[in-house]
Symmetry: C2
Subunit: 387 residues, 2 copies
């Protein structure tokens, strides 16, 4: 009788002999075609659970609660789903807009912000209850709404984001409470399409689709306004057709350099972090999508847009040259390093596989069956600014 | 009956309504006088448990398993204790030497290394079982053992450490298996007393007590050997009596600079990260012990040796000047930022208190009663190289 009751105890759900499970080595992989996710762990490299019913995950991203227990999945259809990684189930889910593009979690972990295309703006929720805390319509001076892109968290309880049509960068400061103080930076350039924040949370940099350059805001000196950097880096110089916009959140800072995808070109740009000038343009296999530095900053890994998306390339940070090319399989959509960098996990969508490689030897250590995998997000992101 | 049995279920130990607990917001505070620790959490800022029986913790440090479940406490008496943060109890404990000074955990989380004074050397254990994997006596060319200091983990499954009497830096490479390949760097300078590794795991830098400078090894180019940096920075220039050696693991990298304690001087040295030259010498309240950058690198916090150890000073990274001084109370021994930098926890030993401050407003948010608190170690360290 005791035996039966103990088995029925919710402990058994947690999947270990004593029923307890830590959360530091967990992660979520998006199954983009089926509206589902897998919860994985990186110590033994296994899948722990599959959770369905998350809606349209065709451009989904994930943030984590500060205790690394809850995953927040931002779906393309405006869905915001709270998943309990320990009970391995959906604990809350709302449809907060018609079309959204990602989210962010505040420095203190209390607020979730979502970037919306339709209707254009940012909505901010209580991370625990998913109750609406603030609604920030992204209206230009004429009252027209813009799609919001490049939403990130920043130090001092701020969110920063860009308005695609209006060409503006906004800072929403929640340090004074639930009614944000909004600072607008106008005329930052045409069509900001994505943005990133440096790992120290200081520089917010938006890529411009409509112009040849990038817009940068120093969040420690917002009074200086937005500056143009990388002017004329080549976006307008006989660009190839752009099959897929690169992701600037994958910008890699390594050593003295930042590495960034050149929109519409088969190049990775190397930029000096001190003055944001171009140091080198590295020819690569295709149009880069994600450009990611290893945690030890010895290498930068790059994946590519269709039709070159069967390949990964590895750039040596010391020589600024490509030191290896891999062909994991059809449609390599995303990659994620383990927090201290010994392994890299790679989504190979059309093989329905996630591969795991040794970051140094490039040896393949294993693979997991995953249905149309796209984004891979490990819980260590909970502890990082802007991730 | 069901009610009673469910209460008896080990779930109840985990202290939440459903019995499950994540580990991303946990930490350990050393109670140095009583051989005990407290397990705390930084979300609601509470103590969850007190665990006794850890031996001499007068110079203790903590590392975490990669899943953030197990804390490894390295005691002064050679004790190595494995604590399960979820079951909140000691799960393994060995006395592995007569006198030890700290440890490190390998990049893959499988190996624990301990730096020993007596007998001088490094012992390496299986992190799960605490079984001995490798024993590395720190013998100089004449066969004499040295005290080992400045032990850190480095990328590619390496440990790096310094030999105090021999004046050497050794690299133990476990990438090929449990028998390490040892590389010795001789004649690095007199009496290395502590060391640090930069957050990218590239530069290992040992402070020299017997000479006026520091010894640096580029772990990406070990063939270049150890270089002398910061030669003549002032250690020998009318030094004050040194009451307590500073901790180099607290070296702060912020923006373009590294900030380091000047041994025996009332100064913090600001060093250019590109060429390791001195940029400025900031006069401070006393002899600095820990010099720590906030995660957003906007500020560097400094505590001090006796008799100035009632004070904390905050350096502004942009102006390189002191922007605030706090008097938390008698014997401020250690401080630790929350991973994304919104708060800082401070040990005030002789008040038997740990204080929690807002990192920006410097407002005191709360305090916890802790018996002679010293080191504070949050689980987010599990995800960082060299921490």
């Amino acid at each position: 009788m005791l035996w039966v009751l103990l088995l029925a105890c919710p402990l058994a759900l947690a999947g270990q002999s004593d029923g307890l499970r830590a959360t530091g080595d967990l992660g979520v992989i998006i199954e983009r075609a089926t509206g589902s996710i897998q919860i994985i762990e990186t110590t033994s490299r296994t899948s722990l659970a599959r959770i369905t019913g998350l809606g349209d995950l065709s451009h989904a991203s994930v943030k984590y609660s500060r205790d690394e227990r809850y995953a927040y999945i931002f779906g393309r259809d405006g869905g915001l789903t709270q998943v309990d990684m320990l009970r391995r189930k959906i604990t809350n889910r709302i449809i907060q807009s018609g079309n959204s593009i990602g989210g962010a979690i505040s420095q203190d972990g209390r607020l979730l912000a979502v970037a919306n295309y339709d209707p254009g703006g940012v909505k901010v929720f209580d991370a625990r209850t998913l109750e609406l805390v603030a609604d920030i319509p992204a209206k230009d001076d004429g009252g027209e709404r813009s799609k919001v892109v490049g939403l990130v968290d920043a130090p001092r309880q701020r969110f920063v984001f860009s308005l695609f049509e209006a060409g503006e960068i906004w800072v929403a400061d929640f340090s004074g409470g639930d009614t944000p103080e909004i600072t607008r930076h106008r005329d930052v350039g045409r069509q900001p399409y994505d943005a990133l924040i440096t790992p120290d949370g200081r520089y917010y940099i938006a890529g411009l689709f409509g112009e040849d350059g990038m817009a940068m805001l120093d969040l420690r000196r917002p009074q200086d306004g937005v500056q143009r950097i990388m002017d004329g880096y080549g976006r307008g110089d006989e660009p190839l057709p752009v099959f897929k916009m690169p992701h600037l959140e994958g910008w890699a800072m390594a050593g003295d350099y930042a590495f960034m995808p050149a929109v519409g070109h088969h190049s990775v740009l190397v930029v000096d972090r001190r003055d944001w000038s171009e140091v080198k343009r590295i020819p690569v296999h295709g149009q880069p999508i994600f450009v990611m530095a290893s945690p030890d900053q010895h290498a930068v890994w790059v994946n590519f847009a269709y039709p070159d998306n069967d390949t990964l390339q590895v750039i040596d940070v010391d020589t600024l040259e490509i030191k290896a090319s891999l062909k994991p399989g059809p449609a390599v959509l995303h990659m994620e390093f383990t927090p201290r960098g010994e392994h890299i996990w790679v989504s190979v969508r059309d093989a329905n596989e996630v591969h795991i490689y040794d970051s140094y030897s490039l040896e393949k250590l294993g693979q997991l069956p995953v249905e149309s995998p796209s984004g891979i997000f490990l819980t260590a992101r909970a502890h990082r600014i802007g991730l």
